[in-house]
Structures are given as C-alpha cells and as structure tokens.
Symmetry: C2
Subunit: 344 residues, 2 copies
C-alpha cells in the first residue's frame, strides 16, 4: 500500500494574545507514513481517533524558558493533548490491534509508540462514544470529580457558585453539587450555554456578559463554595460574596490566559473571611492515587444511563484544531470541544 | 477625692489614606471620673495599664455600612483594642482589686465594666511585663502560634519566607520555624529591623525597601511556606518563588490597608503550583478551642526564660496613641507597638 498522509498540527510561534490558527499553529501535510510496512521497532502503531481541546493548552504556548506545571510546546513540533486512539499494528506484548488507549497524544493522525507508558487501556463496557473519554470521562471529568471530593466539603444549605459552568469541568461540578443537595449558582457566556446550565439543574443560571456577577451573588448568595474556572473580575466578585470559611477551588483562570494574568484587587478578603483557597491540577499524584480508580468505576455507568449529562462540541478533522483552540479561549464553543480526527 | 481626668482617644473621621493623629483620631480630656465614689452598679472599675496598637485597626476605621470580620469604630466614641488593666474597685463577685485582665479595652484611662465577658484573668506566674500580654503573649503571639500549627505543615528541608518579620507576629513565626528546623528567609523595612531578624535566627534577612524581594527568593528559595503579613508585590514575588504544593498563610496585607487593597497580578500561580492559601483570623472559635489553653501553658515560660525573644516599641501615655497608630501603618515602629497608659 502506498504511503498515507500523516496530518499534523504544529506549534509555530508563541502568541501574544489569542492563539491564531495558521499563525500560532499550522496544519501540516508534509509527512507520510506507510501504515502496512512502517517498522514498529518493538512498539505499536496507533491511529488517533479523538483529540481534546482544553483551555490549559494556552499555557503551553510559551517560550521554553518559562517554568510551569506542564511543559511548553516546542516550535515546529506537533501540539499534544489528551486523546483516544486505536491500535492498528503491534510488536508490543499485551498490545493488540483493536485496543483503545487514552492518554497524551501528539496532534497527528498516526503515531508509533514505544510502549504504553502514560496510556490507559479503555475497555468501554458501556459502549460510550470514544470522545467522551477525553471529556466527562477524561481529564476534565476527573478534574471536577477529584477536586470536588477533595476540597468542597459541602454542608447542608451551602450555596456554590460555578463559573464557566457550561464547560466539561463546570457542568460536572454543577451536577455533583446538586447531587449533594446544594443550591447552585452558575455562569456562562451565552444564552445557549445558560440554557444548558438550567438543564444540568443549576438553581440560578446567568450570562455573565449581560448580567452583573456581583449583583447575582449579592441577591442569591452569600456563597460557601466557589468553583473558579475563570479568575479575574469573577473571582473578585466571588471574594466579595463569600461567607466566612468559604472554600475556593481554583481550577482555572481563563480570563487571564491570553493577557498574562488578570489582576485581583481584593485578595485581602481571604483573611477577614478566613477563606481556604485550593489550587490544584488533576495530575497530582496524591489525587490520582486517591480517586482515579473509583472514578472509572463509578462515573461511566452514570454517563451511560444519562444520570450524568454532558454536551459535546465536535469539530471534524485534525485541520480544524487551530480554530477549535481559539474558540475555546474565546468561549465560542458550546460544550466540550473535541476534534474527531478519524473514524475507527 | 476630686474627680480625675479620664483621657480618651476618639475616632473622629474615616481616613482616606493613612490615619492622621488629631484628624482621624482625637485625644480628649473632657471627661472626668470620681475613682472613689463612682457607682459601679454591680460591675467593677478597671484602670488601663497597656493598650496594643496593631495593623488591623486600620480596617476598623471605615464607614459603618461596610461589613468586615471586626466591627467598625464609631465616630465620636473611643477606639478599642487589646489591652491589660488592673481592677481598682469591684462590686462583682470573683473580681478583686489588684486582679489583672486581658481583653478588648476602650482607649480610655478608666472604665467601668459590667462583667468579665470577653476578658481573661492574667495570673502571670512568671512575672512578665504586662505589655507582653498584648504582644507575644497576646493576640499577635496567638496569631503566629495558632496558625503555624494549623496551616504550616512543615517538612524537613522546607524553606519558609516571612514578610513583616520584625513585627510581633512575624518575629514569633521566625522562631517557630527555626524551632522546626526550617530555613527561614525574612523581610522587614529598615536596617534596624533586619538586625532584629538576624537575632531571631533568620537564615536570610533583608530590607525589602533596598533589596528586591523577587531576587532574594530566586536565590534563596524556592519557598515551601509563605507567611504573608503584607500582600501586594511581596505576595506576587512569593507566588513566583513558591514550590509545588506550597502553603500560603494569609495573616495580613498591610501594603493595601491604606489604599483600598493592593492588586495581585499572578494569583493564577495558585493553580499550576497547587498552592493552598489559608486566610484566617486568630479569633476563629475552632482555632481558639484547639490551641488557646496550650498557648498560655507553653509560651509564657519560654518568654520568661528568654527562649522566645521579643522586642517592644513603647509609647508612653494615651495621648501618644494617634501617632503610634500611624507609625505602625507606615512601619516606623521598631518592635511590637504598645501604649503604656499608666503604671500600676
């Protein structure tokens, strides 16, 4: 069989503001791969089915010298992020064609992997679409599930505020908070997203672009728990509306990702209000050890039965990745953004 | 006996920046009291010996509508804060002339109290100066001691950074951290204070006005624990220099007290670095219940033996309170600021 184009999305340059498709990232078709004959050198050939597009990717688009929890993308090389792939050929013991794996994938259609380090084999007993394994059943779902259990400490009659409520993290947080019997206030950036917040069970749902967050929290709060996906002025409003001994779960601050950080003027409120602010990343080894296996046991059946709701915003084809990345930073997505790279 | 002048320091107006003696506060001699004959109405007459001047008092100099953890001062009425007094006369059972009490005192020389609610009788077996009971053995000392035990979680080889290290809170924190075997970096705002930091055992001591905090932390860090007394740019530098899973103990943010709050641009670091930020106030009932009695058992003997060092900056006479308050806000004090109101 003749070589197949192995499409890739390359990191091209560090953006100064929002990441621009074709400039920050480039879709490249220059590489080919002979799927039948390429030497696996003891590894296995995997075909990328799904790639996740997440807000945190913006932080990896930086100069190599700047330290952060996640390594920077390298110029001229493919981006990477969570994905699901299917094994086409294998020289590796215990890896069989047809097996599905979840983990960090380069943004390319086919890859040869040396081993399964960092990958998780997906069994998918409930026959859930593979794309869900990068959303509610992947990193974002684990983010919500691990940290809610670790940091929320919900008590009867607590009020929780979830910003970025329509994303894959926020939407699961809303459902977890409702399952715990809490009053949930949730915000998002479009009417369509607000409608979704209501479907998820949020008691109060509002569009932060047309409604003043501080006013909503003044009326519907005070808040005992704040799940922060956005930072900036929303975090300031949450600090003002917090009760004594409120828990602030710091998951993301997308409002500052494209501007070098959004300042917070009233951080002093953490003192008088005795707030406990917990920053975390889902890959924390202690959180993973404590929660991951239970997550994969408990959550997939609930997703399969529709007890946990989710919404996806799919883009088809790897060439759509650059635009999808921008959409997520701007908030133009409507649900968990995934790239459907290929069918099985 | 003829009536005695009962000097008072009254709250006069809400300051816009620093509190100005004679403007924000006024020393008033218009009231008198007949110490021998005044009707106690079942209460007791107490003479103020010592009053504490603390940074947090600035937060009480606000318009009455603004909520905070501590009630605002009332215009035309005396300020109040922690103090020690001696009982002169008593109609109250179990309260005897000569008894000493610690608690919140109005800024006036003599007061008639209905009961001992909120007061703690001081036995002072170690014959320590009464002024120390508003410093290392009072609210500031408890602040350091309670929160270090509750939030620091020191581990071997940890590095701690203490800002405002020369104050009564910071100076005890430094000593607690050294007792736990940690490397201590401490900052203060004058060469005299820096010399004191070194006496206390700080491994690295610097004047933040002449040395760049970020450079010191870059060289001597990274830091596992940050004890924050100042907020603002120092907090920003600490966020940059923090390790993964650092603990930030948010005790005070004096850099913003006179300007409506100092913005923090890089609060997003709490996420990637998985920082746990704990705001607290020493009066938290759970902290008091957990630590107060042990504090009064363990700390006074150490102070008496000189195992815990302290420094006081005394002003004599109630009329010096307005200037003392300003000095503490500006940082012109050199040690725990106390007003020696009267001798026994």
């Amino acid at each position: 069989m003749s070589p197949t184009v192995n499409g890739r999305v390359l990191f091209n340059e560090v953006p100064t503001g929002f990441p621009v498709p074709g400039k920050t990232t480039i879709y490249d078709k220059s590489k080919t791969i002979d799927l039948d004959n390429v030497d696996l050198e003891g590894g296995f050939l995997i075909k990328t089915l799904v790639l996740s597009i997440d807000p945190y990717m913006r932080g990896k688009m930086r100069e190599p010298g700047k330290k952060s929890y996640s390594p920077p993308y390298n110029k001229g090389e493919p981006l990477d992020n969570f994905g699901v792939g299917v094994v086409l050929r294998s020289d590796t013991p215990d890896v069989t064609p047809g097996d599905h794996y979840y983990g960090i994938f380069p943004f390319q259609e086919y890859d040869i992997r040396k081993n399964t380090d960092g990958l998780r084999k997906l069994t998918n007993e409930h026959n859930i679409p593979w794309s869900v394994f990068v959303g509610t059943l992947g990193m974002p779902g684990k983010t919500a599930w691990f940290a809610w259990q670790e940091f929320a400490h919900p008590e009867k009659d607590d009020v929780v505020f979830v910003s970025g409520g329509a994303g894959p993290v926020g939407s699961l947080v809303i459902q977890l908070a409702k399952a715990d019997g809490l009053k949930v206030i949730a915000s998002a950036g479009s009417e369509q997203k607000v409608a979704f917040l209501k479907e998820l069970g949020a008691d109060v749902a509002f569009n932060y672009k047309t409604t003043d967050t501080a006013e909503v929290l003044e009326k519907e709060g005070p808040i005992n728990i704040y799940w922060d996906n956005v930072g900036g002025p929303t975090l300031e409003a949450a600090l003002e509306a917090a009760t004594v001994e409120a828990r602030f779960i710091e998951c993301g601050m997308i409002s500052g990702y494209n501007s070098g950080g959004a300042p917070v003027k009233n951080i002093f409120q953490v003192i008088g209000k005795q707030i406990k602010m917990s920053g975390f990343i889902v890959g924390n080894p202690k959180l993973v050890a404590k929660y991951e296996e239970r997550f994969y046991q408990e959550v997939p059946p609930k997703v399969a039965k529709g007890e946990i709701k989710l919404r996806e915003d799919r883009s088809i084809g790897l060439e759509s990745a650059g635009q999808a990345i921008l959409d997520v930073q701007v908030g133009n997505n409507n649900g968990k953004k995934v790239i459907i790279v290929a069918k099985e």
